[in-house]
Chain length 240, copies 2
DNA sequence: CCGACTCAAAATGCATTCATTATTCAAACA
DNA sequence: TGTTTGAATAATGAATGCATTTTGAGTCGG
């Protein structure tokens, strides 16, 4: 085999994406997104066969991906019965949000220790951008930038383990937030909280940033919980 | 087929019934233990073939298990190059312990809210048992009961997500603690801290319990870090 | 003598196949 | 008529097989 041929696998006969990241990794991400966005409905079965056909892969890498998603809590694996998209129950989010809160708090604390001026500038820029979306009442744009802000803080914490654990939970939180729309009041409140987040981050006040991040998430929890109160009809199938 | 087995309603609830353990689950646990205990050395390759022979399984379930362990951070998967036992580096434990601390703190906080008198009694019993091991200088026994105490508190927190995240990290912490022996001073200190843990738990003082648990772990971190300082020659193989 | 190249052997990622288990649905029974 | 039985069907879990990549030894050339 000639050494130059090493980069030849990018355009296979199947037209698949380049194999830089292994197949099961790509699958994990793709299916995670399907679940978060709601294309795969909570409480339903994960259609193994269809997904195999959709992505033109065999069951082996797909099942590997499902194992990973099971750890993230997005699917439940039942021996000999297959994989089910986990439901968004009140118990579930009451479990997830406090843990996420603890991680966010730690994230803020560590970020204040390590963040550079340039990074703060970047967050400030994102913050301004988010305010614009708020003023324009563009919820999609708001969410997108919002997420970037939290990720920027997380990245400034300089802790890979924290990042991994955070991202593992983030999918479930995002999914919950995706279904539960904010009221205008909550939105205003959330934006005000972000104002404080920005302030404490610039002061590198770890304790206060930590506290406000935790509270910020608690308020988000309240939003989602309220939505669940209003939409109990979504429950019906077996949970597990 | 046995006709009587159709009345499956006994395992219908959401409680943790004995779900049949599939092969990859067993494997995950077995290999995790191999790594934690040190039978598989940090920095070395995971001998896929040998493990298949050892457990008399094919590569498929083994590889599924490795995916799970990779998330726990016990192994690193390198595309087309296989799985490697992750090393215990200073950066690694400096990452893991703070996150673990945050989770333990939350665990204590929630436990104080939900723990029953009977459960407190059980922890008290474990605590006494641990003190006996301390007096007998039985480190193995001490560690075993120690772990049970932390697990009892965790269980009292009534949070499945927290439990999952905690256990995911616990393996790495256990592994670190396994290699790094405590000095007598540290051991005494740890025992004293456990005395306080017991006190605050019985008072159901969440804030203080949370704080002491976090500090307890910080001290453990110091022990491990010191050990790493003294044993830098352990590094040599490839990190990732 | 040392480095680069070639080629073979081993290992990996994924697909396919096989055995076991669950599910379905029609027939038998009370 | 409603419930239960049991065989056909479908799906899952795991083993095997195949193509690609990596690794390493041996050879050639400088």
């Amino acid at each position: 085999m000639t050494p130059e041929d090493q980069t030849s696998s990018l355009s296979d006969g199947k037209g698949e994406v380049f194999r830089r990241r292994s197949l099961h990794e790509e699958l994990t991400e793709a299916i995670r997104e399907l679940i978060v966005v709601g294309d795969l409905l909570p409480g339903t079965r994960v259609p193994e066969k269809e997904l195999c056909a959709l992505y033109s892969v065999s069951r082996t890498p797909l099942r590997e991906a499902l194992k990973v998603l099971a750890i993230d809590g997005l699917v439940n694996l039942e021996p000999n019965r297959g994989a089910w998209v986990s439901k968004i129950t009140k118990e579930d989010i009451d479990d997830v949000f406090p843990v996420m809160g603890a991680l966010e708090a730690l994230s803020g604390e560590l970020a204040c220790k390590h963040i550079s001026d340039a990074e703060i500038g970047n967050v400030r820029r994102l913050h301004r951008e988010m305010l614009k979306y708020f003023e324009q009442r563009d919820l999609e744009g708001y969410f997108a930038v919002n997420q970037q802000i939290h990720e920027a803080i997380l990245s400034a914490a300089r802790n890979k383990t924290l990042t991994a654990q955070y991202n593992s939970l983030a999918a479930r939180v995002r999914r919950a937030r995706y279904v539960a729309n904010m009221t205008m009041d909550r939105w205003t409140q959330a934006t005000e909280e972000h104002e404080q987040i920005m302030t404490f981050l610039e002061r590198r006040d770890g304790a206060r940033l930590s506290a406000i991040l935790k509270k910020h998430l608690e308020n988000k929890l309240e939003t989602v919980r309220q939505w669940l109160d209003d939409n109990e009809e979504a429950d019906g199938a077996k949970a597990r």
